[in-house]
């Protein structure tokens, strides 16, 4: 089978304007000799840092920009979604905008007419359909814009950062729709900064780094590789000798780091694996009982974890002068995914006095690979809990039940619904025996 997208040596240069009166002789290489094949029906994510060339690649494939050299072949009708609401005009009604935006995205009149009801339903704008979109809330505007975009049915769909805008509801809808499209056999090329979204939607991914293809393969490997490199630089903080380190005349913080199961410094950990948070501090005088503690906050500022060295032999004992190295081991399946910040403190009691308190000593990204082994299982939606332990569940089911209790009883009338003969056929129970 021919690949849906075959790129060979795609290169794109942009002229760089240095100043007002320089002749633009310098070039910026946005894409550097990129080659890859994408099989039909695959959803492929493109990851990379800002300015790596992801959007340029999509624009070239969408024919918005011509490449400087190289060649690409696309087999099938191409549709691009580089922005929700392309062609929208604020003064026009929702209905008019559906037609306009549909036409901009390459739909014919009868195609739009055929899908009009579907689009309106999907957008949920309801009675606002004939009002100018300038009166819409921004959420409603986005939903309508995406509704139109989601109903183009090309064989190859190029999608860029649709999820960067909009609320959680919108993002959920976007992802669901794209999952449907990819299940229908459309080839999707998907650019996003959200590793969650890429991991959820795509089986494989391309990692583009400064215009070059760094890695192509299964999505988990590519994401892990990308995050490992991108974040490794900030996975550790060190304060050299001197008085600028956090702390007071008794205790000073020297080093904090996050390490993965292999002991390597990282700032992205996989919640399905063990990891450690380590920190070093100096104590200047003998004779104090000190309580070191760490706290973990999620990106909304909720405290997820508080922990001190309660299990260690030093706990509650006088700590002599010297350097202390603490290693805090986290089990697998404890945290939820997201950006975590770590606060480090060292206190003495009676009266409570914080000698060292560094609120955002270090940050790390907790990521979850959607391989079904975490507490999430195969549930792909967003989860709000602060921690995500893997708990043991047992469930039993019986072959037949009365459905009476499902029905709202009508006053005075006793009604029975017949049990559907084949609604629940087998008997199954999980775990319990």
């Amino acid at each position: 089978m021919r690949p849906a997208i075959a790129a060979r040596g795609l290169t794109k240069q942009f002229p760089v304007q240095r100043g007002w009166d320089s002749k633009a002789a310098e070039f910026f290489l946005a894409l550097d000799n990129l080659s890859f094949d994408i099989e039909p029906g695959q959803a492929v994510g493109i990851v990379g840092s800002n300015g790596a060339g992801k959007s340029t690649l999509l624009k070239i494939l969408a024919r918005i920009l011509p490449p400087t050299s190289g060649r690409a072949e696309l087999n099938g009708r191409v549709g691009s979604l580089l922005e929700a609401g392309a062609g929208f005009h604020p003064e026009l009604s929702g209905r008019d905008n559906i037609f306009l935006s549909g036409a901009v995205l390459g739909m014919k009149k009868n195609e739009i007419l055929k899908r009009l009801d579907e689009i309106v339903d999907f957008s949920g704008v309801g009675e606002f359909l004939d009002r100018p979109v300038k009166h819409y809330s921004s959420g409603m505007y986005l939903r309508l814009a995406f509704a139109v975009a989601a109903h183009i049915e090309p064989e190859i769909l190029l999608v860029d950062e649709l999820l960067a805008v909009g609320d959680a509801q919108y993002q959920k809808k976007c992802l669901q729709r794209m999952e449907n499209l990819s299940q229908n056999g459309q080839t999707i090329l998907f650019v996003s900064h959200s590793m969650q979204a890429v991991a959820r939607l795509c089986r494989s991914a391309l990692w583009i780094d400064r215009g070059k293809l760094r890695m192509a393969g299964p999505v988990a490997e590519v994401i892990a590789g990308y995050l490992k490199e991108g974040e490794a630089k900030t996975g550790e903080r060190v304060w050299p000798e001197g008085h600028h380190a956090p702390g007071d005349e008794l205790v000073r913080l020297r080093r904090v780091r996050v390490a993965n199961a292999e002991g390597q410094t990282t700032s992205s950990i996989n919640i399905g694996e063990e990891f450690t948070i380590e920190f070093d501090y100096d104590v200047a005088h003998d004779g104090m009982v000190l309580f070191p503690a760490i706290r973990l906050f999620n990106e909304w500022g909720t405290e997820a974890i508080w922990s001190t060295d309660s299990g260690s032999p030093l706990h509650g004992k006088v700590r002599p002068r010297g350097r202390y190295h603490c290693v805090v081991r986290f089990p697998r399946n404890l945290l939820a995914e997201g950006l975590m910040s770590v606060s480090v403190s060292v206190a003495s009691l009676c009266p409570t006095r914080f000698h060292l308190s560094e609120p955002e000593a270090i940050h790390f990204q907790a990521i979850e690979l959607l391989d079904g082994t975490t507490a999430r299982g195969d549930y792909a939606d967003s989860i709000g809990s602060v921690v995500r332990p893997l708990l043991a569940w047992t469930t039993e089911s019986k072959p037949s039940v009365s459905f009476d209790s499902f029905r709202t009883p009508k006053a005075g009338i006793e009604s029975r619904i017949p049990t559907p003969e084949s609604s629940i056929q087998g008997h199954h129970d999980e775990g319990a025996s």
Partner: protein, 273 residues
């Protein structure tokens, strides 16, 4: 299955492909034109008033001033009627060129987000202002009857002449819009160009007003044929066929140059606009 090949474009895609894509984008052209019309006639009364006043006002001004100073010979047609018959095609031409030639710059964001044949943008702007031309023709026909020039068979040629003016407006805008996207300074030249152009066209004077020896210069202007043709069709005034043919030839040359220029740079519009 449709195959799209993406290659560096030094001379644009083939004309065959470009033409096929233009034909496929009829839906887009339709809705873009409808959008412009919707916005323009949001207040229908004011919209219509504006459309009719546009040729009427300058015609009235010229009828009261220009006619007295220069007293051009207009083959027996009252000057106010003569001027209106000139300003109707002219105002359409000038407004549609001034708006259509900005379309690539105004829609730079759209150009950067979606691919479609770019010529659709100036074409829709031109089509949307063609209502001005239609309204104007109705106006001038009415005024013509009022001033004692009853309908004649040659009025049937008016739609054809309208198409001709629209075609010139489109091709001129296509070239100017491309130039505008490539170099922002072009937009400052457009009002200036229009000011010169109106006096280089037989709008407020008949082409016979220009001395015999240099009259061929008027023929280099594609609008000359349209304006002379308009009056000939409306009032049965004599038509200089040599001038008309020269004007048609220059229209063809402008159209060809404009299309070649646009085609050469179409792929780069998103980057440059």
């Amino acid at each position: 299955m449709k195959l799209t090949v993406i290659e560096p474009l030094r001379r644009g895609v083939s004309f065959k492909t470009a033409w096929a894509e233009c034909r496929e984008s009829a839906t887009l052209l339709r809705y873009l034109t409808l959008r412009d019309l919707r916005l323009r006639f949001q207040d229908p009364l004011l919209g219509v008033l504006w459309v009719t006043l546009q040729p009427l006002l300058p015609a009235a001004v010229f009828a009261t001033i220009f006619a007295r100073i220069l007293q051009p010979t207009t083959s027996g047609v009252p000057y106010s009627l003569f001027a209106l018959a000139g300003f109707v095609p002219w105002t359409f031409f000038s407004t549609s060129v001034s708006t259509a030639s900005m379309t690539f710059v105004w829609n730079a964001n759209l150009l950067n987000k979606v691919y479609f044949p770019r010529a659709v943008l100036p074409a829709s702007a031109m089509l949307a202002s063609s209502v001005e031309l239609m309204a104007g023709v109705v106006l001038v026909c009415g005024y013509s009857v009022f001033r004692g020039f009853p309908p004649r068979a040659s009025w049937l040629l008016l739609p054809l002449l309208g198409l001709y003016v629209a075609a010139i407006a489109f091709f001129v805008s296509l070239g100017l819009a491309t130039a505008n996207a490539l170099n922002r300074n072009v937009k400052f030249a457009i009002p200036f160009l229009m000011q010169v152009w109106i006096y280089a066209s037989p709008v407020v004077y008949p082409s016979s007003f220009v001395p015999e020896r240099s009259r061929w210069l008027l023929g280099l202007n594609p609008l000359t044929g349209a304006l002379d043709g308009f009056r000939a069709a409306l009032f049965g005034t004599p038509l200089n066929y040599r001038l008309l043919l020269l004007s048609l030839a220059s229209a063809a040359a402008i159209a060809l140059g404009s299309v070649l220029f646009f085609h050469r740079y179409e792929a780069f519009l998103a980057e440059r606009a």
